[in-house]
């Protein structure tokens, strides 16, 4: 099995580099040749997706450690190396990213300057995948930051009326958050220099922290530094205000990637770096972050209910759903963490699908105001049916993917932090309220004259939605292959935390309930 992991072809580096190289190739194509640009862009993302599938195929699910690892010195004097690797936690996120990008390039129509749009999208893909694969804190930070620029340009260049403001808000919020991340990770790197050099390597730092645990106060400070940056990115309740603006003003493709991948960078960072490097602080400060998560879930849901703009409904639903993921993460149990990872993937399927559908509604009607839309079910039944399935996935209906993740999260949280789980459960109810109420107003009733000519879903659109719908159903009905690959790595992470900080050991095995079919 390991032979597969030791392939000589640097698969992970290729997955990061191919989109970036494709972006340069797109930049070299003359602007007028839109057909060539579209083809090159699709080929690049498709090649990346193919490599991600190969990675998934060769992934050894019994091995909880990092696989396909590759390491090359980059800035030796600072102890920085190009260190990539994939484990059960990042595996599905990488695959999700690689699959979402071709869909995004195919899905929504681009009204101007396809060349720049495609190039930025490809750079964004390289940045996102790099963030998920990085095992060196410097490399992680570099990718975490580099993602901002393409997204900024996608919003500012192809967005709606208030795009400049929204793009800037997005950029400044995130960069300000990263300030704390950088200082915290530098502190960590310079804490115990080996051979006179600081080390940014994740494995080295984990080992150092295991052998010489930090003083509690220092650990909490560093943990908070990491968490501020990730909380902005997620975004968690008090710093979430950039997200609705960014989503509303972003072009459909931007929203799809923002919701599907970019927000996961925050939750992934929490899971991989903040919680794993500082397990004791994570345990001690969990109530604070659980509280923010629960506030985000209920607040996001309430605000989503009151929105007049369909896209803003989906945007606020993201705030609520990401709160769910953070809830599961800070439960610090196997179910909670596994559910959190799976829910990242689920949210990365259903929310992009919702944004695509809202984008197509806008393309047809040039409005997203709920009050302007009605009776679409009569004129576009297939469109309505697809919307229904995606909506139920987002609500968390049993049998669809959302349910599995949310159930695991609530189960895991209930074991350790009962009352947060109780309040969190209301989030599920609210999700039904805001999405179904919006659906009712948009799709039910008798269509007005403007809505009577609403075009049925085209074959291209059906083709774009098909993979997402299949995933929604497959994960909902048979999540085992997904959880089988996630759980060993989660268990390994819990074991590690348990060794470092005794307090983070799961309470008792009797609480852990066997889950999944």
């Amino acid at each position: 099995m390991l032979a597969a992991a030791n392939v000589h072809f640097p698969l992970l580096t290729a997955i990061v580099i191919v989109p970036a190289v494709t972006a340069v190739m797109v930049a070299l194509v003359p602007r007028a040749r839109e057909d060539v640009i579209r083809m090159v862009g699709l080929a690049g993302t498709a090649a990346t997706a193919a490599m991600a599938i190969v990675m998934l195929w060769q992934f050894d699910k019994a091995n909880a450690d990092f696989q396909f690892a590759t390491q090359h010195p980059w800035i030796p004097s600072l102890g920085i190396s190009w260190h990539l690797g994939v484990d059960g936690i990042s595996l599905w996120l990488v695959v999700l990213t690689a699959v979402l990008f071709p869909i995004t390039l195919l899905g929504p129509a681009v009204h101007k300057d396809l060349k720049a749009y495609t190039a930025w999208m490809l750079l964004l893909e390289a940045g996102c995948i790099g963030t998920f694969l990085a095992l060196d804190l410097f490399v992680f930070f570099v990718f975490f930051e580099v993602v901002l620029l393409p997204m900024y340009f996608l919003i500012a260049g192809w967005g709606y009326a208030n795009r400049t403001y929204a793009a800037l808000k997005f950029f400044i919020f995130t960069v300000a958050g990263s300030a704390f991340l950088l200082v915290a990770l530098l502190t960590l790197a310079f804490m115990r220099p080996t051979n006179g050099h600081p080390s940014f390597d994740f494995a080295v730092l984990l080992q150092q922290l295991q052998q010489h645990p930090l003083p509690a106060a220092t650990e909490r400070l560093l943990f908070s530094g990491f968490m501020i940056a990730f909380a902005v990115k997620v975004p968690l309740f008090p710093v979430h205000t950039w997200l609705p603006d960014a989503h509303t003003e972003a072009p459909t493709g931007g929203s799809v990637i923002l919701a599907g991948v970019l927000l996961k960078l925050g939750t992934y960072g929490i899971l991989r770096f903040a919680v794993q490097l500082f397990p004791q602080a994570a345990k001690d400060l969990a109530p604070i972050w659980l509280t923010f998560a629960v506030i985000g879930m209920t607040y996001g849901a309430v605000v989503a209910t009151m929105q007049k703009d369909l896209k803003r409904v989906v945007a606020y639903s993201s705030v609520a759903h990401l709160g769910f993921i953070v809830l599961g993460t800070f439960a610090l149990t196997r179910q909670g963490l596994s559910g959190g990872v799976l829910q990242m993937v689920n949210h990365g399927i259903s929310t992009p699908a919702l944004f695509l559908l809202v984008g197509w509604i806008y393309e047809r009607r040039h409005t997203r105001q709920i009050s302007e839309l009605c009776g679409l079910q009569k004129v576009a039944p297939v469109f309505a049916a697809v919307f229904t399935v995606v909506m139920f996935s987002s609500i968390g209906l049993p049998g669809l993917n959302g349910f599995v993740g949310e159930f695991l999260i609530l189960l895991g949280t209930f074991a350790t932090h009962r009352w947060w789980a109780v309040v969190g459960t209301t989030g599920v109810i609210f999700a039904a309220l805001y999405l179904m109420w919006a659906y009712q107003r948009v799709f039910h009733g008798v269509p007005t004259a403007a809505n009577a000519t609403f075009k049925e879903m085209t074959w291209r659109e059906r083709g774009v939605m098909a993979p997402l719908l299949i995933l929604i159903v497959v994960i909902g009905v048979y999540p085992k292959p997904f959880l089988d690959r996630i759980e060993p790595s989660v268990q390994r992470m819990i074991d590690h935390s348990c060794q470092v900080a005794k307090a983070t050991c799961p309470p008792a095995t009797s609480h852990t309930v066997a889950v999944g079919p």
């Binding site: 901002l148 340009f153 950088l182």
Partner: protein
Amino acid sequence: MSGGAALLALQPTIRVDVEYHLLWPVLVMLAGPLVVLVVSAMTGRRAPGWLWPALTVVTAAGAVAASVHDWLWTYRAPSPSRLLIVGGELAVDRFACWFFFIACGVVAVGALTFHGYVRRERLDGPEIYVLAMLSASGAMTMAMANDLIVLFLGLEILSIALYVMAGYHRRRTESGEAAMKYFILGAFSSALFLYGVALTYGATGSTHILEVRNYLVQSREHNGLVLAGMGLLLVGLGFKVAAVPFHAWTPDVYEGSPTPVTGYMAALAKAAGFAGLLRVFAYMYVTPEIVHAWRPAVWTLAVLTLVVGAFVAVVQTDLKRMLAYSSINHAGYVLVGMTAIHWANGGLRRTNGVSSALYYLLTYAFIILGSFAVVAVVSGRGDGRTTIESVRGLSTRRPLLALSFTVFLAAQAGVPFTTGFLAKFSVVSAAVGAHEASTYILAVLAMLVTAVSAFFYLRVIVVMYADPADTPTAAGDRRDTSSGADGVGAGQAGEATDGRMAAGGGVAVATATRSDATTLEVPVGATIAIAVCLLITVGGGLWPGPLIDAARRALLAF
């Protein structure tokens, strides 16, 4: 006290040899202007215009070769004291060599940007190249000065040439105004610097940097006279690097000077000023007491410079003024690196601080040269169009130029895979490496300021990529969040009114665009200069090891 003994042990034996072979970099840089003057006197107006920049580039290349020799020689020197030459008045260590490289690079790239500019503005002649090489020799003298008087000489050689260059565009009143302001405030700061030298001499009995240092190490004095001298030296050099609150001259001088000269000045004067600052503060004022005295002052300067530079840049509407405040902001980052110099475990820890500052200065020099090279092209005949609006739609007119400017601005904003990111990273990591509450605070502040600075860099980029027909009001400054059917209706109405309001501006922009399309030519020299700057900025960002390692080796002797 143990640290003092360690410093004493390093006391050098000063030799009176001149060691000409180490002086070649600055000798070549001084020979260049003489050659250019002689050739121009002999050929008169017959000499082709490209001859002067070509001679400048050749001179710079020669000086680089000589600097490489010096750099390599520092490894072979039998003892560190052999690096002190001309009777101990100059110190040719790798620190000095680093600034030789910066000065040569800046002169070569600067000369390339001058060429197209002086032709366009009909200012042809060899003088600007002569002045540039002279100022570079001044900067090189500052970098290797081992005596406060020599430092002052270098400062004056640099500054006087720069004053003249600031006023080089004789027909523009702004240029004359800039020269005047720069001269008066520069002379004022030189006087303060000299007074600091005098007080230091009064307190220690010497102006020789190593002797002052040895006196301080032995006596452990940090009385009022020593501190007053130190404060005045800090103020005098603070003027040159445009640290807040000594920055007042910067925006006007940057705005009024001929645009390529502004870039040249921003790169060279800042590097030379910091060469002097580091020589004095990381090399002379090194006893624990004195370090404890100057660090809070530099810390305060760093905070003020970072914050004021960034926040005032936000409200600028002129590109050159915006870049002026951004250059103030950059000086703040270098000061952050300087603040990382500290005493710990009985020794002066300065490697991280000094090397991060050195790395910052070199990478910044090429980023800012590239930025101003682009602005010089965009400003058009008469050097007048430098508002942010003048780059509107540049991406459709000159896509490659717009892309280059995007890279330079993104690098200044600290976007990864550019040297600008690594520069900020290295100064912040130096500050964090000092492990003190004050430096942690400074590190966080520096990173937060990056978020503010992103605002004004990105704004320019967005304008470049905006539709040329868009006026600022129509480009989406309306803050209505409802973009539905009502939004469309309201939007159309709004655009109608906006259109009326901005009609004058819109027409003006449209005409400007049309005329620019014909007159906006990118001279060959500027193209090469921008390409070189891009190569260093992006290449150094993708393959950072060599440059960072070199900066870590470019240490002060002793």
